[in-house]
Amino acid sequence: MNPGFGHLDALESESVHIFREVAGEFERPVILFSGGKDSVVMLHLALKAFAPAPTPFPLLHVDTGHNFPEVIEYRDRAVAKHGLRLHVASVQDYIDRGVLRERADGTRNPLQTLPLTEKIQSEKFDAVFGGGRRDEEKARAKERVFSLRDEFSQWDPRRQRPELWNLYNGRHAPGEHVRVFPLSNWTELDVWQYIAREGIELPSIYFAHHREVFARGGMWLTAGDWGGPRSAETVEKRQVRYRTVGDMSCTGAVDSDADTVEKVIAEIAASRLTERGATRADDKLSEAAMEDRKREGYF
C-alpha cells in the first residue's frame, strides 16, 4: 500500500467512488438519513465527494414518531448547515390514517417499511443510499453494494447480480430502484475511527450521559410516552450511551462512561458484544429477523 494512504483512506476513496457512480448513473438518488452515526458518516462522504459544489443528493428520514429529541435537533441542524432538501416519511401519519396499526410490543421499527416504500415510489427515487454495513449481521454480509429492489422494495436473493471489480451495475426497470450501500466494507470501529479523524459531530446520545432508563429484554430503554415503563418495570437513573440510534422503543443504551470519541473507540475495541447484539431488541426476535425485514424492503 502507498505510504500515507491507510485503511481509512482506502475506505473513504471507495465510498466516494460509489457516491460519484450514483450521481453519474441515476436520475433521482436520495440518502436515507436517520441521524445515526452511519448516516452521518454517509452525509459527510457525500459532501466531500462533490466539494466544492454542494452534494447533489437530498435526504430522506423515516420518522417513527419515537425519536430521540437530540437526534431530530441534530438532523435539522445538519439540513440547515449544508442547505439540503429533507424528505420525511412519517410512521405516525400512517397510524393516524389507520393504514398501519401499533404493534402489541410498541416497537415501530417493522412499521417503517411501508412509509419508506411508498415515499420511494411517490418521489420516484431510483437510487436510495443506506448506511448498512456487511459486518453488522449475517444477512447484510451477503448484500451487494448495488442491491436491486422491485416496486415493493423487496430484496430477492435470487435476483442479486454478481458484483465484480468496482463495476457496479445500476440498471433497473421503471418502478424498480437500487439500494446503494457505500459503507459496505466499513466496520463499526472504522466508522468511529473515521469520525475521530475527520472531527465529525454526532448527536449527543452517542456519548455517556445520565438518563432515566428501565430494564427490558436485557437492555436499558429510555422512559417515554411510547409505552414504557410498564407497571412491573422500575425507572432508575444511570450513566449510559447509545451504540446505535433507532426507534426509542427498541434501541437500548449501554452502561458507559465514554464521553469522548477516543473513549468510545477504546470501549468498542474492548467490547465482547456486537453493536446489534448489545442494543437492538428487533434483531433478537428470531435467528432470521434481519433477513425477513430485508426481504420486505427494510433498510
Binding site: P52, A53, K142, P157, L164, A270, G277
Partner: protein
Amino acid sequence: MSTTIDTTIDTLRFATAGSVDDGKSTLVGRLLHDSKSVLADQLEAVEHASRNRGQDTPDLALLTDGLRAEREQGITIDVAYRYFATPRRRFILADTPGHVQYTRNMVTGASTADLAIVLVDARKGVVEQTRRHAAVAALLRVPHVVLAVNKMDLVGYEQAPFERIVEDFAAHAAESGLPGFTPIPVSALVGDNVVARSTAMGWYEGPALLEFLEEVPVGAEAPDAPVRFPVQYVIRDGEVRYYAGQLASGVLHVGDQVTVHPSGETSQIAGIDVLGTARESARAPQSISLRLADQRDVSRGDMITAGVDVPALTREVRAAVCHLAERPLRVGDRVLVRHTTRTVKAVVEDLGGAPALSVNDLGHITLRTADPLLLDPYAASRRTGAFIVIDPADGATLTAGMVEP
C-alpha cells in the same frame, strides 16, 4: 487493540475457494474464532444452534451459516463478506460457497482479491474443482494463491500425502499459468497451522496460515504504472469544472501534460483536489478531482491519461470470459458492455468457435462495440482491463470479461 489510528495498517482482501465438505466453513470459522474476531453474542448463538443439532462443542462452521432463504430455496448467494483484524492488518474475506455455482462464485470473490486460498481435503487430494479454482485464480490474476491442505489430522499429520498433493497441484498450476503458490498443511477442525504453528507437523517449517496472511505484501503498484483516470462525474462550481474520478493507476502531478480520450485533446493539470484539499500530486487508488488548464469537452466515460503509454482505442474487444448468468450467451446477441465508467452497445461476434456460453463456462469472446472503448490488457491492469457484459432487456449481469492483448 490500539485505540490510536494507525495509518500504516493496511487491508488484505482475500477469497476462499473450496469444494463441498473439504472444511472451508470450519476453516473460516476457525480463523475468525482464533483471531478473536467472534464476539460473545455471536459465539453464544453458535453454541445454542450447535446444541439444537445435538453437538457438544460449538460447530464453528455455523459462524458462516447461510440465510434461511438459501436453505429453503436450495440456492446460494454467491459471496458473503467477513471482516476481521489483527494488530498487524485488517482483512476483508470474500467467502465463496463451494456448491453448484462455484466457478461464478469464485470469479466474483477473486475479482477484488489480493490473495486466494484454495482448499483441498488431504484424503481426497486435487479434484476437478481444485483444478477449476487454480484456473480461475490464474485467469483473474489474483496476485497470491495459498494451497491449504486441510484435514491433516486425518492422514496422521504425515508429510508424504501433503507433498503428493503439492506436486499434483503444481502441475495444474503451471498448466493454468498460475505464477506460483504457497502450500500450507492445516487442520481447521483442530486448529493446526491456522492461527498458530502446529506442533504435530515438525517436518513443516513454513508459517501458519494467519501469519502468512499478515505478512504477504499487497497493493504495491509498479512505480512506472501508466496514468489512467476514468472520468466519473463533472463537478461544476460556477465557471470552474472539476473532473471527478478514482485514479485507476499511476501518479498524477499538477503541471502534467495530459490527453483526454477518446477526443485526443491535450491539456495540462491545473489543480488536483483530494476530497476538499488541494494537493500537488495524487496516486491510485485515490478518489480525486482535477482541473485542466484549458476549456475541454470532458464528460463521464472519458479517460484522462499522461505520458506516452496510452490505452488502445478500439471497437473490437477480444477477451477471456467467465459466463455468470443462467441464461446462455450466444453469437449474435446484442448486449451492453460496461468498462470503467463507460457503457456501450455491442454485438457478440464470436465465442471462441462455440455457439454459446453456459453458466460457469470459461471461454473467449470477440465483441464489436458501437462506440470505441479504451482498453488495456487485463494482465496490465485489473481496473482498465476488466469489463462486464449486461443484458439490455433487464439489466442482468451476464458475463465477466478480461481483455486479452
